[in-house]
Symmetry: C2
Subunit: 355 residues, 2 copies
C-alpha cells in the first residue's frame, strides 16, 4: 500500500547517534579508531535503523565494486551449473558478490551481454564453459577488466588467465582404461565442436588412441543432450559394434545406454561405455556409468582465487592482466570406473554428496 521507506543513510545513523557521518563510516571501516563508547552508540543506531551501506555509493567513491561478473552460457548444463555454484560460494567467501550474465540460447548476444557486464562495473570477470559464441563479448570486456576463463582453448582472448580441468587428460585416462580392459576398437561420441571442452576431450581421445594403436572412430557431433546421444547411437548400431564407446558427457552416454538396452546389447559385456562429468545419478544408471569426475568445486575456488589475487588489494598498484605465475592452472580430472566398463566393478558405486 504505502511506498517502502527510503533506506537509511550514514547521515541518518549519525544524527541518531549524535555524531558526524564520518564517524559512522569509521565505525564500519576501522572500528578501533573510534572511542568504545561512541562506537557502541553508533552501532546501536545502526541496529535500530537497520542501516546497511549503499554499495553503489561505495563503488562510486572507491572505484571498486566488489562484484565478480560471471559470464556463462544460458543453459543449466551440469558442469556450468555446478561451477557457477562453486564460484558463487568462493566469491562470497572472499567478500565478493556475484553478478550473472548469460550468452546463448536464452541470453542475449555476446556483444550486448559484454557491454552490460562492463557497465555493471564488475572488478573482474569469470567465464564459465566458454564456447565460440562468447568470444566477442570477452574481447570487449578484456579492454578494461581482468578475466579468468574457466575452460581452456579460448586462445583469442588476450590477457585472460585460465583455470581449467584438463579435458584431454581426462579423455586419455578413459582410453587407457579401456585399452587395459582389452578393448581394441573405440568410438568417440563427440560433443558440440563449438565448445572448447568438447574439443579438448576429442583431442585427448585422438592422441591416446593413436599412441595406443587402437581402432578409433569419431561420430558426428552431439549437442550434450541424451537425445542426441540416442540418435547417434542408433546410427552407430547400423554398423559393426565396437568394443567400447566413449561419450563426450554423461547425458549423451545415458542416451546411448538407453538405446543399447533397447536393442538388447549388453553393457559392458558386448560394449563398454564411459561418459564424462560424473553427473548426479551417473552411479545409478543401468548399468552404473564409468565416467570422469571433474573437480568443479576446486575449479570454482581456483578461478576466484586467481581473479582476486590479480585484482590486488589497492586498485592503483595492481596489474590485473598479469596474474601470478603461469597462465594456465590445470586441475586433474579423476577417472571413476563403474560397471559400464568393468565387470569387476561393484554394481553400485558411491557418488559424492549432493552439491
Amino acid at each position: 500500500m504505502t511506498s517502502l521507506p527510503r533506506r537509511p543513510s550514514m547521515t541518518d545513523v549519525a544524527d541518531r547517534a549524535g555524531v558526524s557521518y564520518q564517524t559512522v563510516s569509521r565505525v564500519l571501516n576501522d572500528p578501533h579508531r573510534v572511542k568504545p563508547a561512541t562506537r557502541e552508540r553508533v552501532q546501536a543506531a545502526i541496529e535500530e535503523l537497520g542501516f546497511t551501506r549503499n554499495r553503489a555509493a561505495r563503488a562510486l567513491r572507491t572505484t571498486r565494486s566488489r562484484i565478480i561478473g560471471v559470464l556463462t552460457d544460458g543453459s543449466s548444463l551440469y558442469g556450468p551449473a555446478t561451477t557457477l555454484s562453486a564460484v558463487e560460494a568462493a566469491a562470497h567467501e572472499a567478500g565478493y558478490t556475484t553478478l550473472l550474465a548469460s550468452v546463448g540460447p536464452h541470453g542475449a548476444s555476446g556483444e550486448r551481454t559484454g557491454r552490460e557486464l562492463l557497465e555493471s562495473g564488475a572488478d573482474g570477470i569469470i567465464v564459465i564453459a566458454p564456447h565460440e559464441g562468447m568470444v566477442p563479448a570477452l574481447e570487449a570486456i578484456a579492454r578494461t577488466t581482468p578475466i579468468v576463463s574457466v575452460t581452456a582453448g579460448a586462445p583469442a582472448i588476450p590477457g585472460a588467465t585460465m583455470v581449467t580441468v584438463d579435458q584431454a587428460r581426462g579423455a586419455r585416462s578413459v582410453v587407457e582404461h579401456l585399452a587395459e580392459a582389452g578393448c581394441r576398437s573405440v568410438v568417440h561420441l563427440q560433443g558440440p565442436p563449438s565448445w572448447f571442452d568438447a574439443r579438448g576431450r576429442r583431442a585427448g581421445f585422438v592422441e591416446a588412441v593413436d599412441q595406443l594403436g587402437l581402432d578409433a572412430e569419431i561420430t558426428e557431433p552431439g549437442d550434450w543432450s541424451p537425445g542426441s546421444g540416442a540418435r547417434i547411437a542408433e546410427a552407430l548400431l547400423r554398423g559393426p559394434l565396437p568394443d567400447a564407446v566413449f561419450a563426450a558427457n554423461d547425458h549423451m552416454a545415458l542416451g546411448l545406454l538407453h538405446v543399447l538396452h533397447a536393442r538388447g546389447v549388453r553393457v559392458p559385456e558386448q560394449v563398454a561405455v564411459v561418459g564424462f562429468d560424473d553427473i548426479s545419478g551417473a552411479a545409478y544408471f543401468t548399468p552404473s556409468l564409468s565416467t570422469v569426475r571433474q573437480p568443479f568445486d576446486r575449479l570454482g575456488q581456483a578461478a576466484v582465487a586467481r581473479l582476486i589475487s590479480g585484482l590486488g588489494p589497492a586498485p592503483e598498484e595492481a596489474a590485473p592482466a598479469a596474474a601470478p605465475s603461469g597462465l594456465a592452472a590445470d586441475l586433474a580430472p579423476e577417472l571413476i570406473v563403474r560397471r559400464s566398463s568393468s565387470l569387476t566393478a561393484p554394481a553400485t558405486t558411491d557418488e559424492p554428496p549432493v552439491s
Copy 2:
C-alpha cells in the same frame, strides 16, 4: 604489466566531442532531443573511447540499481538451476541484471547473505526454491525491498508475492494416473521436509490417496539425491511390494529404479514408478521415467514480470509490496507418462530441447 586505464566517463566523452557532459547524458537517455549532427559526434566519441555508463553512479543518483537479486540454495539441483537460468534470461530481457546469492550448503548463513543482498541495492529479490534456512534472510530483506518467492509455502514472509508451480496438483495428477492404471497401493518416497516444494508434493499425494481410497504409505524423507532414493528403496524392498512408487523427484526415482533393477523387480510390470521434475535424461532412464514436468521457463518469466510490475516505472509512486492482484499465481505442472508407469507408452519419449 601496466595497470588498466581508468574507465572513461561522460566528461571524457564530452571533451572529445566538444560538448558538455549533459549532452552526452542526453544522447544516451533521450537521443531525439539532441541535434542529429551533435548526436553523431557524441556517438562517435563514445565508440572511440569504449565508453560505458557507470552503473554505480547511475544507481546512486536514481536510487534504482536495475539489479534483481536472486536468492537460492547453494546447490545446483535441477529445478533451482533451471529456474535461475530462466530468471536470468527474463531479467536480462527486461533490462535488469541478476545478482546471485546463496544460502545453504556452500553459501553462508541466511543472515549474512540477506544483509549483503540488501547492501547491493537490488531493486527487488526473487527467491528460488526456498527452504526453511532462508526465512531469516528474507525477513531482513522484506523490510525495504520487494520480494517474489518462486515456491509456495513460505508463509512467514510478509509482503512477499508468490509465483509458483502447484506442487500438490502435480502430485495429485500422479496419483490419479496411477489409480487409473489400476494401482491400489502406492508409496510416496518423500523429499526433505524442510523444503517447501517437498511438503507440497507430499500434501498433494496425501490428499489424492485419501480421496481415491488407495492404500498409501510414506517413507522416511530423502535428500533429493539418487543415493537417498536407493537407500530408501532397499528398506522398502524388505516389505511387500506396492503397486506403485511416487518419488519426490526424478533423481530419487533413479536410485529407486536402479535398486529395483538390481533386485530383478520389473518396472512397470511389478511396480510402477513416477518421479517429479522431468530432468534432462528422464526419458532415457531404464525404463523411461514417467514424471511431472514443471514449466521452469515460464516460472522464471512470471517471477520477473511480477517483480518488475511491482517495482513500477518511477521509484516514488510505486507501491512495491502490493503487487498486482492475487497474491499467488500458480502455473500448472504437466504429467508426462512414459514407460515406467505404463506398458502402452512408447519405450522412448521425446523430451524438451536442452535449456
